[in-house]
Amino acid sequence: MSDVTLQEKQNSALVDALKGFWIEFKRNRGALYGLVFITILGFVATFAPFIAPYVPEEQYRDFLKLPPVWVEGGSWDFLFGTDALGRDQLSRMIYGSRYSFYIGFIVIFFCLTIGIVLGLVAAFNRGFIDNMIMRAMDIILAFPALLMALALVAILGPSLENAMIAIAIVYIPHFVRLTRAQAMSELGKDYVSSSKTMGASKARLMFINVLPNCMAPLIVQATMSFSSAILDAAALGFLGMGAQPPTPEWGTMLADSRQYILSDPWLMTIPGLFILVTVLSINLIGDGMRDGLDPKMKSNK
């Protein structure tokens, strides 16, 4: 092989890998639809101030509980109608999407960093340290997730930030377990032995050698947990333990309109539907990513 072709080949190695992932991902229709929805939602969340027709907290006292435009009595001024205090539902939904992404990203950030560090430390220090970490994780896992989060919020005080901390703590064990299991299977491989014979430090082995080889399943897990985090934050919000009014968080919006479920059902339907579709989309993306990233799933198709 001549040097020129080698050079070209080398440049395209990463592109090839991405291309391979994309081909595999594309094959999964659901994942593609999910990606389209999340992209639109992400765009809306980013440019909320420019897209939203009204300020989400602004109350229009003349238009209380106006139904959406497609229901009889709706108005083109308020596409999704207004809530009990006369606030524009559409604007609140648009701003609410920001909170969903905010919650998802922050929770996943904490879960990934803490989970990876604890998982790697456990895998590299079999024995006492490993036992301590893993038993602590077992204890967290022994509680029902939402109950645990509720108890934590009860201690920390109800607010969106505390709800996120509580959710992160509930999800960390999954990341620790996954990282540890992955790292342990990588540790048995000879490239790690080779680094050891060179005198590589533990930190070097952990983060430079082993971690990059554990990332694929962690990315999938992170995607899946992203949606669960949104769902749990909405649940906490609904129970009044998450974001506090007048924050236009989707779960809080559900809670605000709970008493009107029989008289004005669209008030709950719209946020509920958006939570559903968002979570579904992210899960579909997660499935698609698993197909693309996990070589074991690849051959099954």
Binding site: Q10, K189, S193, S194, T197, G199, N209
Partner: protein
């Protein structure tokens, strides 16, 4: 041959999916199998030898890989065109198959008895339970398993590799097939076990007048059992003929190349090396597990992987550490490089006992002892570029990146690769190339002692001989001491100055290679040498002939 062929394959072509590296896995292949003969298909990995047999069994991974041309005539019909259901009736009952890895080919959660019963019930034979039971015992007895009752009641994991392979053979032969396809059935086994299994297959084949298609990459095995031989390369048959013809008077340049790379079993008399001792090991002990009782009262199992091992290696000398799996040969290598902690003993490296050093005191010595690993696919970090992999060691030891990078370029040249490779990832290289990268990585540390742990076992013969030549060249040029851990006696005979034979963690024989091979003292060494396949075959001298 006067007998009529039982299997006749003509112009068989198997297509691969579009993006594969070549359009056909098997191209225009024709051959016949006669009753009562062993037909060996030899070739290197990727030559299409397994694909041709899978095509016969109807085991191609459809729809991606399919038969695009040709026919497979068996009992008067073309079995490449019959339905899956009809094929199922033939599979097992008329054509049996055994695989390379008996552990994965047997169901791990099913007792042996039950798995053998499955064979009968899946072919809807009207036999009573008692009949099946006696049949199973008979079958297990036939394949030379002691205590068929006990073996029948065991799970696969309770059996040794050889016993599992015997069970596999019993299963394949349960319904008295006319053809047995054996796909590398002994590759995963130790030499002594391999010899027994080969003998068993030959015996069964003779008593039952079966046709056997035996797929292998090992010319020693071919010499041991083959009646006829087919040599495949890149999906095509390059040569076929009787075993005697192919082995001693190969016609095709590719066959000649393959045969020329088979290491000669006989060792040459070499001058003993008398330079300075680099490392000397005394009384090395390594015990896995502990005898102390665990929390739940289970008594720990103890394995003595190394028992009072003594050895020494001089500058420019290669010591071969040979033995079967579980003999502790790898453990000794890993103890010397301190990948494993030893329980007791002295490892004297140029005057310092490195076993007594702390991790930080060990650092300067790490540079001097380096290792080359067996599996070229697992020994390179798949997520790092070759350049980063080779320069990792020097970087840890504080050598500036620019300097070590320059050195890495030189080293790649030495091992026969282009320096462009530095910026590529391991998956872009073949097994042999990866092993070269592994060697370059070890050399980047300027070692004095190189431990090669089964460094060529995972490679094809022709690649194997290139890597062996490279190692020899490097050893002479850099005046290295080398510990060569291997299970392959042919390879050991070729490269080692001295040999230490290990069994159950002990060195049972230790001496010059020539003496060990020509005048073995210990019974175990004798049985090992006895078991080498094709020992009666003298590799012909092909120098002067055209070689691919």
């Amino acid at each position: 041959m006067t007998k009529e062929a039982i299997l006749k394959i003509s112009n068989l072509t198997v297509s691969l999916p579009e993006r594969a590296e070549r359009p056909f896995a098997v191209e225009d292949v024709s051959f016949e199998v006669y009753p009562g003969e062993i037909l060996c298909i030899v070739g290197e990995s990727g030559s299409g030898k397994s694909m041709s047999s899978n095509a016969v069994m109807g085991l191609l991974p459809k729809p991606f890989v399919y038969i695009s041309q040709g026919e497979i005539m068996f009992e008067g019909r073309d079995i490449s065109k019959i339905s899956d259901r009809e094929m199922q009736a033939i599979r097992g009952s008329k054509i049996g198959m055994i695989f390379q890895e008996p552990m994965t080919a047997l169901n791990p959660v099913m007792r042996v008895n039950k798995q053998l019963q499955e064979v009968f019930s899946s072919h809807h034979l009207k036999l009573s339970k008692a009949e099946i039971k006696t049949k199973i015992i008979e079958m297990l007895d036939d394949v030379g398993l002691p205590d068929p009752e006990i073996i029948g009641n065991s799970y696969p994991f309770e059996l040794s590799g050889g016993q599992r392979q015997r069970v596999m053979i019993a299963m394949a032969l349960a319904l008295q097939p006319k053809i047995l396809i054996a796909d590398e059935p002994t590759t995963a086994l130790d030499v002594t076990t391999q010899a027994q299994i080969l003998k068993l297959i030959a015996e069964l084949q003779e008593t039952r007048d079966m046709g056997v298609i035996f797929i292998t990459h090992d010319f020693g095995v071919v010499a041991e059992i083959a009646d006829r031989v087919i040599v495949m390369q890149m999906g095509k048959i390059v040569e076929q003929g009787t075993a005697e013809q192919i082995l001693n008077r190969p016609e095709h340049p590719y066959t000649r190349k393959l045969i020329a790379t088979v290491p000669h079993l006989g060792a040459q008399k070499k001058e003993p090396v008398t330079s300075d001792i680099v490392v000397s090991v005394k009384g090395l002990n390594k015990i896995y597990g502990s005898e102390t009782t665990g929390l739940f009262g289970k008594k720990g199992r103890v394995v003595h992987a190394s028992r009072d091992v003594d050895l020494e290696i001089r500058k420019g000398e290669t010591l071969g550490l040979v033995g079967e799996s579980g003999s502790g040969k790898s453990t000794v290598g890993r103890c010397i490089i301190r990948l494993h902690d030893s329980n007791s003993g002295i490892i004297d490296f140029e005057g310092t006992d490195i076993l007594k050093l702390s991790n930080s005191e060990m650092m300067p010595f790490r540079k001097h002892i380096q290792m080359i690993f067996q599996d070229p696919y697992a020994s390179l970090n798949p997520r790092r570029k070759i350049g980063d992999i080779i320069t990792e060691g020097p970087t840890i030891h504080g050598i500036p990146k620019a300097v070590s990078w320059k050195r890495a370029e030189e080293l790649l040249e030495i091992v026969g690769l282009s320096k462009i490779a530095l910026k590529r990832y391991p998956h872009e290289f073949s097994g042999g190339q990866r092993q070269r990268i592994g060697i370059a990585r070890a050399l980047a540390m300027d070692p004095k002692l190189l431990i090669a742990d089964e460094a060529v076992s995972a490679l094809d013969v022709s690649v194997q001989s290139q890597v062996l030549d490279l190692l020899d060249e490097i050893k002479t040029e850099m005046d290295l001491a080398m510990l060569f851990v291997t299970h392959d006696l042919r390879v050991a005979a070729q490269v080692c100055d001295k040999i230490a034979v290990m069994r159950f963690g002990e060195i049972v024989e230790y001496g010059n290679t020539y003496d060990v091979f020509h005048n073995p003292q210990h019974d175990y060494t004798k049985s090992l040498l006895e078991a080498v396949p094709g020992k009666a075959w003298k590799v012909p001298d092909l120098s002067g002939l055209e070689i691919a």
